[in-house]
């Protein structure tokens, strides 16, 4: 039976509360993982591990949180993603909302793509195919 958005959200919330030690009500769909919820690099891996268990899914490395973008000179110039970089990232993160980020693809703002909603979208595609 397909999972509803609410069911996924509830489990994602539990996952983030456990992984990041935040309160339930801090985990809103629009909250950013690093900015609002204080996640650091190792936490992203912790979140991946916990999601795999909670939803009984396999998350290949780099699929939920893409790697090897920022260290590719073709994708980054003067602290911003190039057109090639942006289109690569969009292709690899169909679960993220780029509407704000693509206005100003400053790499320091890239973390804002990682919202709770981003995780929900990703998990929805995994559990519901």
């Amino acid at each position: 039976m397909p999972m509803s958005q609410e069911e996924v959200f509830e489990k994602v919330r539990e996952t983030l509360v456990e992984a990041l030690g935040v309160d339930d009500d801090e985990v809103t769909a629009e909250a950013t993982l690093t900015g609002d919820l204080g996640a650091e690099s190792i936490d992203f891996l912790d979140i991946v591990f916990r999601l795999e268990k909670a939803f009984n899914i396999k998350i290949p490395r780099g699929e939920l949180f893409p790697d090897n973008i920022l260290n590719n000179p073709e994708f980054v110039q003067d602290g911003k993603l190039t057109d090639a970089g942006l289109s690569e990232l969009k292709q690899r993160m169909p679960h993220a909302d780029f509407s704000d980020f693509e206005q100003d693809p400053d790499i320091n703002k890239m973390a804002e793509l990682f919202k709770v909603q981003t995780i929900i979208n990703y998990v929805m595609t995994k559990v519901n195919g």
Partner: protein, 158 residues
């Protein structure tokens, strides 16, 4: 002084589970200052005890080739204090073991009774996503930790 906060492994199932004990003694210098009127084993060193138990478990799973570094204390809760004369038992279980990191859950017993919970994450730092380079020599597993677990592994071989 050696930075080892467990005395002995009593169980070791490679890649899955390890149990170590630590006897707290009034002869240990660290309790004298913590605190002079009421010596107790610091909580931070109980976390270290679990980190060593779980870290060796994670390290052995990759034949001590990875540099296993404590990256995150996901949870650390203790129900009271541990005093000289108490025996702590660290029960560590591998929850996840991936190329770049591992997570473990752990229960601490005091004199055989549940007393604390410590969940940890370890990074295999040579596999870090930022591509940072570290010295080739394995500065984590220099021999002292491997020797602790060797008797149990030999026992299994026999």
């Amino acid at each position: 002084m050696r930075w080892i906060w467990i005395d002995r492994f009593i169980e070791f199932v490679p890649g899955r589970r390890a149990v170590a004990i630590k006897n707290i003694s009034l002869a240990e210098e660290h309790v004298h200052d913590h605190w002079p009127a009421y010596p107790m084993h610091p909580a931070s060193l109980m976390i270290e005890g679990m980190a060593q138990t779980a870290g060796i478990l994670v390290g052995q799973a990759r034949d001590f080739k990875e540099k296993v570094i404590l990256a995150k204390i996901t949870r650390a809760e203790f129900d009271g204090v541990a005093l000289p004369g108490d025996q702590l038992t660290f029960q560590a279980t591998v929850e996840n073991l991936a190329a770049e990191a591992a997570s473990t859950s752990g229960v601490v017993l005091k004199n055989g009774e549940p007393f604390g919970r410590v969940d940890l994450m370890f990074s295999h730092i040579d596999q870090n996503m930022a591509g940072m380079k570290f010295p080739e020599e394995n500065f984590v597993f220099t021999g002292q930790f491997e020797r602790l677990v060797a008797p149990l592994l030999e026992q299994d071989d026999g």
